[in-house]
């Protein structure tokens, strides 16, 4: 493979893989919020 193709492929595929993994990991690990927490979050919004 030529260098430019390799750099582009590795960069794009790495970003897609890392972000997919990271977001899915967060989905798996973050506990669901209770109603009170959501209310507080909403009240603190500008």
């Amino acid at each position: 493979m030529n260098t430019s193709a390799l750099i582009l492929m590795v960069t794009v595929e790495s970003i897609a893989t890392i972000l997919t993994g990271w977001f899915f990991w967060k989905v798996l690990t973050i506990k669901p919020k209770d109603d009170e927490e959501t209310e507080n979050q909403l009240n603190n919004q500008p």
Binding site: S4, L8, A16, L19, F23, V27, T38
Partner: protein, 610 residues
Amino acid sequence: MAVNNDSWGSRVGLVLAMAGNAVGFGNFLRFPVQAVQNGGGAFIIPYIVSFLLMGIPLLFIEWASGRYGGSLGHHSTPFILNSMDKRKIWRYVGVFGIFSNIAIAAYYCYIESWTISYIYHSVIGTFNSMDQTQVAAFFSDYLDVTTSTTGIPYEGLVIFLLCLALNTYILSKGLTDGVERVAKIGVPLLIVFGLFLAIKGVTLKAGHEGVVNSGTVGLNFLWTPDFTSLSNPKVWLAAAGQIFFTLSVGMGSIQCYASFVKKNQDIALNAMSAGWMNEFVEIVLGSSIIIPIAIGYLGIDKVVELTNLGGLGLGFRTMPFLFEQWGNVLSAIAGVAFFGLLFFAGITSSLAMGTPVLSFLRDEFNWKRKNAALAFGIIVMIMGLPTILFFNQGVFDEYDYWAGTVSLVVFALLESILFSWIFGMKKGWREINIGADIKIPVVYKFIIKFITPFALIIVFMGALVRPVNDDWSLISLRGWQLHNESIIGQLQHMGIGPNNTYFAEDFYAENSGMVDSVYTFKNKSYLIISGQTAKGNDQSKVYSFNPEKHRLKVNFRQKVSVGQTLYTGNIINKVFYLDMARLLLCTLFLSISFMVHFAFKRKNRKEVEK
């Protein structure tokens, strides 16, 4: 009275179902073909820009609209949109969110049924002794409903009905026990199958098993950037179109799934997780399977030629032959993996198409889930039969164009205007952020309000007045020649040629050249006219005719020009089937609109009675 009390069993199940909704045939068959045809590696730059500026905002809009409507007890787009603005127009805009799902499911389930058949044929080794022409002919035969490859009469139709029955059954089990369960099995399996094929594809070595080029040659071809293509509007429109279709936005299915998310639960992280999972499957797996394998065995020139047939042609006419080169056992495994991943990609999407229809019938007409699922199956069967019986007359492509392309863009454009300008960005932004587990950059407030609707207008206008040969330099105030596939061109049947009446006694040649061959194969007669375009490209066309009903008017080796009579008899031209398909689609849209009108009247009457 039935109450729609469906809900998601788990957050992971929801994200996988949403990802399964987005991941479809296009990830493996359309994306690589689009990339090859639009500058290879440079295509990825407009593709990612489109994802960031159009894809992600549309995901936020649809997830937020869905959850908002769901909190008010609505799970289908006519009612979700109407809850965001009370003007009547929005309930009829919302009809697109039911119409597209039925019309797309009608031909999508048919493709899904091909994958079931191809899994079977891969297992029993049907393709083992076939050359490339025979594998391609096998696909053409399969599309002819009267031909049987297994001994089952009307095989294509029977497998379609089985596939539809499977979809109906799963839908009748509900979200948790049906859709979610399939997504939890299907999406991981799809990724495993994809990884297996991708590893096999990129590790092909020239000289082994008949390989002409190593797998990296295909990757090199796909990823080498051609930055000059970045200045071509065609590439940007193709990238925006690909992002649009790969995410399943503009269909109403995301809103429906999201409407079952509780008011205080996150949608921001869920949307990003499902969206990026789709991108992983498309960019990482989709780019590493058919192009590296096809270039490995057939070479770059042949693959570029084959991409003109589109992804479906490449996937079904070519891949079984390429897998054959790996030996009987591995070819069977590869066939099961490839068509298996397509099957899971397909079924997780077709289930997402059924859910809004079921929700509409259950919410507004109090139907039981099983009855609603059965109704969906029957409507899809009725709409799907013409795509099967008249596939070669272009009905399948007509559905894909109007329901699977134009409707999505129109609906997404209108819903983005509703969300950001009528519902209002202040409320909209608050809605997106309720319960959010990630912080969304504030810049997206600006992007959703200004950039996304503008980008969608550009995509729509680009499709409406697409110039011939995609040459955007032709655009001028004095007008320009339109592409046959532009919306206006399609409406006017611009590409239809000389056979432009419904019924005729003469069938005219649609290309110039010489009668290359006249032959009969499997009870059908064919006439091939070979010629060249002004640019010197090969322009052969195959015409089929029935020797019992038609009288041939040309001879072998005779020179023929466009408009010259090829045969006579009682002829029904393709344009008739195309207009009937449009009529059917319009009837479907109007019928749903009537049901929506009736449902609103019913609802208002009940409220008055209370």
